[in-house]
Symmetry: C3
Subunit: 221 residues, 3 copies
């Protein structure tokens, strides 16, 4: 059984790196200073879990009890800062495109891992039978950090705008909640994390978008 948790930790680590990098990149684009870059990077990585823990009274939030992901995201942000500061060219051309491809995959992996971890937290706290709450906690763990990043960077949350992002998390969360009553929990967990990753990658690849009220998509990047 141990193997499941090792895998989950690896997935979470990949997600932490991707989320922290996305926060740092937003801060860099907004020309924030080093502290702003660190804060946005770390909050993108651990902010979703913090909202989750406060919502169910998991006090103090787990990021404070076991700050391993805080350190991981801090190191990620500092490395990224140093690279961009001293090799600004690296963020152009071929490297940039490779970077974005890798980060897109890591980000998808993180969304999957964080979603199931959020639901695990709900179950451990005794809220496994509150299905709506459990699903909410899974999704908020996955997308909450990115929302805090966007709110703090003063831009409309990405997750509300494009690419089916939160939907992947919602679908995975709902599947996990029902599947774990049918098959062993650990298998259900990894299966659903994987499902989120697949949906998220397909959505990016084929530019799936949800409909808008106007019937057309203004911003079609």
């Amino acid at each position: 059984m141990e193997i499941h948790w090792t895998m989950l930790f690896a997935l979470e680590a990949a997600g932490t790196i991707a989320f922290a990098s996305s926060g740092a990149m937003v801060a860099i684009e907004k020309n924030l200073d080093l502290l702003g870059i660190i804060v946005l990077g770390v909050i993108t990585a651990v902010g979703g879990g913090m909202i989750r823990d406060i919502t169910i009274g998991n006090i103090p939030p787990s990021l404070f009890r076991n700050p391993v992901y805080v350190w991981m995201s801090l190191i990620t942000v500092l490395l990224l800062f140093l690279v961009i500061r001293f090799h600004p060219r690296i963020m152009e051309g071929r490297y940039r495109s490779t970077y974005e491809k890798v980060m897109n995959i890591f980000d998808a992996v993180g969304l999957g891992a964080f979603t199931v971890v959020g639901i695990n937290t709900a179950i451990e706290a005794g809220y496994g039978d509150y299905r709506f709450l459990a699903a909410f906690l899974g999704v908020v763990t996955g997308v909450g950090g990115g929302m805090l990043r966007d709110i703090m960077a003063n831009q409309t949350p990405y997750v509300l705008r494009k690419h089916f992002y939160a939907c992947a998390s919602i679908i995975g969360a709902v599947c996990y909640i029902f599947l774990r009553e049918l098959i062993p929990g650990n298998s259900a967990m990894l299966l659903c994390a994987f499902l989120v990753v697949i949906i998220r990658l397909l959505a990016t690849r084929y530019r799936w978008n949800l409909p808008r009220a106007s019937g057309k998509s203004k911003d079609r990047r």
Copy 2:
């Protein structure tokens, strides 16, 4: 006594519909996709209560224990989306004006109902004697959802800008807190909810505004 609670539920339902619609309309104006429309709609309706519950450690927040208002706002948002998507013309001319009149009344009713419900929650949680806290919880239940909507939609909260909106809630909250020591609680509750509705409608009708430091009102719509 039952009658009071039935009435309160009806008022809350009207408020939920109005608040969810207002969130959905903001999302539609910002050209968000269906998920963004749902999230803003639902959060406008139940976000105030969520802030209230987290503030006093009412865990998990009541929206998760009894998600009736979540479903109600979800259905409202979906109906509104379908109507606007397939009959975009309906949002012009005469229908639009009728829609806005009805929603304005529902919204006022919701502000009144949510304000007194927030104070009831404070009392039930044993904070009836913390008058400042109780008033805060009433007002935050009334206006917190709209604030979250505006923060997430990246606009200055409406409630901070115009039309005496939060003042109606504040006046009603303070009256309820003092009145319930003089007359039976249920009557005080409905009376004060009604007071909020009246003040709110008069404020919209006669364009009451609070003074600004500059002495003039730049945006006088």
Copy 3:
């Protein structure tokens, strides 16, 4: 020992006045109405403490149990509003410059006082040994109110952008956490509050800024 607490209260009072004024000034610049000015003023003064208390389950947050700082910030905001409304000229020329100098010092004092108070709260709640959490609570008490102000006023948080602001608080917080194990707590507390003030004033005076990824500082006011 009493003297330490009297001094701390005086520092906190100065900070409350400065923070409330800064919130009110942002609201006035954004042309918000009186309620918006009050809300931003009060939230800048007490918002950091509120985030701190919610993070560690200090329920209800201390601002509700002992609203002295709420009243203090309310009075500050109202006085400022009246002065600016009826003597708009006072905010020009020489007076403005004196006002900003005084407020800058009060603000630095507040940052120092709020940082150590945040850590005291962590210690009292039994989290003295969670050093990362204690430091976070100190810093969030110092800068959280300003962040809420900026998020609500729809601008990128000042603290993420300029002048080494949060760094002063971080340095003071870390020093206090380690120093209080070496010298008596009350002396460590005042010493570190003083350290924050000095760093903050030097940073403003000499325009210390953290590096940016682009290697240059676009906005050099």
